[in-house]
């Protein structure tokens, strides 16, 4: 029987040991793992992982049901096309930060998208205090219209009180 790739998403209250419990259940069920990204966001556990499994969406959900329920995790499974070995190489890294307010991400990413940015990786945090939160965002991506176009877009954003830095990534292959 053919193995299919699925994207498994799990979200719930964070606690130690979730990854071990889930991956153990998947392993016992004959699954193979691909790429994964786990983040604690706020107080929540979140993970998205590529899982290779012989059966259907339903059978993968059944495989994990007991474990997910006992850990209090909400589960979502999608069948996905394609598999591993499709990495795209980022050529630019951006750091954006400023006093937190609604619209920073929308504003910055819209300007960057118009200047040709294809985002491959994005992670953001809110730090500071409750009274004065600060927003910090890291982005890696591909500058499809060149790094200069992105820099010009950032320069405009920066006039509005958002700090932003752009660094070209020149991957050394040896």
């Amino acid at each position: 029987m053919n193995k299919h790739w699925y994207m498994l998403t799990l979200v719930g209250r964070d606690r130690p040991g979730i990854v071990a419990h889930i991956t153990h259940a998947l392993y016992e069920g004959g699954c193979n793992l691909g790429e994964a990204s786990m983040m604690r966001l706020g107080t929540s556990f979140t993970i998205m992982m590529m899982v290779q499994h012989e059966g259907s969406v339903k059978s993968l959900q059944q495989l994990l049901e007991t474990e997910a329920d006992s850990l209090g995790l909400h589960m979502h499974v999608d069948h996905i096309e394609g598999g591993l070995h499709h990495h795209l190489e980022p050529d630019v890294r951006l750091t954006v930060y400023g006093a937190d307010r609604a619209g920073i991400v929308a504003h910055v990413t819209t300007a960057l998208a118009e200047a040709g940015l294809d985002i491959l990786d994005l992670a953001s945090d809110v730090g500071g205090t409750e009274a004065d939160p600060i927003y910090i965002m890291h982005i890696e991506g591909r500058a499809q219209q060149g790094v200069e176009a992105l820099q010009s877009a950032l320069d405009i954003v920066k006039q509005e009180g958002i700090e932003a830095q752009l660094t070209a990534i020149d991957t050394m292959v040896g």
């Binding site: 890291h138 991957t171 040896g174």
Partner: protein, 169 residues
């Protein structure tokens, strides 16, 4: 005939290479084909002999194809030895022996090193930036190390270096 590149998880990439003692025509012929192998790889700016299954301390670095990078042209590095490290910088690395993966690695910004050329003459060099990174990557190969051994989290960022200038009186 071009040489095949060993790919991790081939255990031989973890071997420590031995010093070159004889600088002869055979060595020079090998260096020619090693350079061909480097240039055959997409975007390759360096190669080390163990990557083609010869466990001797031989490497080639040539970053002259990269615009704006300070460089020494094509460097033949035999028994290279880094003697000084200065500063640190994070950069992205890939490797012909580790296809379809790149990662962030912290390296010294500047290095001073000695190496013999293919005729057995010793030279001292100072490299910085991208070329220094390539040198450190290749010397690692000679010690059985891959950039995978030095990965830092992809969420890690080194803050851009501020240049502090002394106040003029």
């Amino acid at each position: 005939m071009s040489l095949d590149i060993l790919k991790y998880p081939d255990e031989r990439l973890k071997r420590v290479s031995t010093e070159v003692e004889t600088f002869d025509d055979e060595l020079r012929r090998f260096i020619t084909v090693l350079e061909e192998a480097m240039r055959a790889g997409p975007g390759g700016v360096g190669i080390a002999a163990p990557q083609v299954g010869r466990f001797q301390r031989i490497a080639i670095v040539d970053v002259s194809s990269k615009p704006k990078m300070v460089n020494h042209g094509c460097m033949i590095l035999i028994n290279p030895e880094i003697t000084e490290w200065e500063g640190m910088a994070m950069g992205r690395e890939g490797c012909m022996s580790v296809p379809d993966f790149t990662g962030n690695v912290i390296r010294a910004e500047k290095v001073t090193f000695t190496a013999f050329d293919e005729f057995g003459e010793q030279h001292e060099y100072r490299s910085e930036g991208y070329e220094a990174r390539a040198i450190q990557h290749e010397v690692d190969h000679l010690d059985g190390m891959l950039f995978l051994d030095r990965l830092v989290s992809r969420r890690t960022d080194l803050f851009q270096r501020k240049v502090y200038q002394k106040k003029k009186d």
